[in-house]
């Protein structure tokens, strides 16, 4: 039986697959030395997920034209403050954007 991988651009595919591998979420590591950071990562991942969902929903509503100017200002201010607060918390716990994710096994990544 012939079984092979066929491509004219093996290096390009290898490079891209490397990026996918790097994007895979790391484990939540909890041990006496970094339990605080491990928990912060878990909590901030969930908060960031909710923040992104809120943001996406807001964008959809703007796209549909269903928000008044006042509402846009109010929602925008809320999202902006939330984003700034997340930046502060990530700095405090030394976390990068790409670290805020969880692998849900067969379901894939959370974000």
């Amino acid at each position: 039986m012939t079984k092979k991988i066929e491509t004219d651009s093996l290096e390009i595919f290898a490079g891209e697959m490397e990026k996918v591998k790097d994007a895979l979420p790391k484990k939540i590591v909890a041990n006496p030395e970094n339990v605080e950071k491990g928990l912060a990562k878990l909590v901030l991942t969930l908060i960031d997920l909710i923040r992104k969902l809120m943001e996406k929903q807001a964008m959809r509503r703007v796209d549909a034209g269903s928000l008044t100017e006042e509402e846009v200002e109010r929602v925008g201010e809320t999202l902006m403050k939330l984003e700034n607060k997340m930046k502060e918390l990530k700095e405090i716990f030394g976390l990068k954007d790409e670290e805020l994710n969880i692998n849900l096994g067969p379901l894939g990544d959370l974000m």
């Binding site: 004219d8 996918v20 807001a58 200002e73 902006m80």
Partner: protein, 252 residues
Amino acid sequence: MNLYAYAIIDSTGGVEESIRGLLGAPVYTIPYRDIGIVVSDLKAQAQIKNEESVLKHEEVVEALMDRFTVLPMKSYTIFDKKEELLLKVKEHYEDFTENLDRVHNKHEFGIKIIWAGNVIRERIALAHKNENAPAGPGQPGAKFMKEKFEKYKIDKEFEEEADRCIAIVDGFLNRYVSEKKLEKLKTDNLLLSAVYLVDKEKRDDFKKAFKELKGSGGDLKYMISGPWPAYNFITLSRSGDGKSAATKGAQL
């Protein structure tokens, strides 16, 4: 002596004696009702957690694929004794037979396609930049929303373009497949990462359609792999402890 399991097959025997498994041990079948578990003996203290073992495992599975419908086991699936193995198979018997029926006479092909995602995103962003007036002084919330909305529109348009491309690609291949799983934009450049379950009889047609697709021009880069066992189309509905679980591949 332990048992190292390679795969479940749709037969209670008939595995060629020439197939050698881990550490050169002969491979044989343990029958259970109308299916078989392909195993080889393994000394309890044998050190097998290495790349060579993984490749050997795959080699055995591929050799089995020639003659049987195969549900590959996860690497390093080891049982202390035959009774333990049979007990597990008994627990999952219905799952195994359902999956064997589903993937009977079918193989998996992987297709990956790269496009110039970065260039396309830049082009879309540029078009939006030209059509949008620069943000003037305004309320901070509204300004924030405007910036976010511009990014949202670029992302949306980028995804729509990806959807259009994928629909064209899938249109070439779809008629030859039983099942498929498509993943869009795992990275900005990796337009499509797909697995297709293809009937053995349609394998050549599928590959021909892929060649046509590849030869149809454009800046896309293509990769095809296979035929493989149906790794991505095997789903166990129950885990060993009775909890509900969806598992890729047969994992006891």
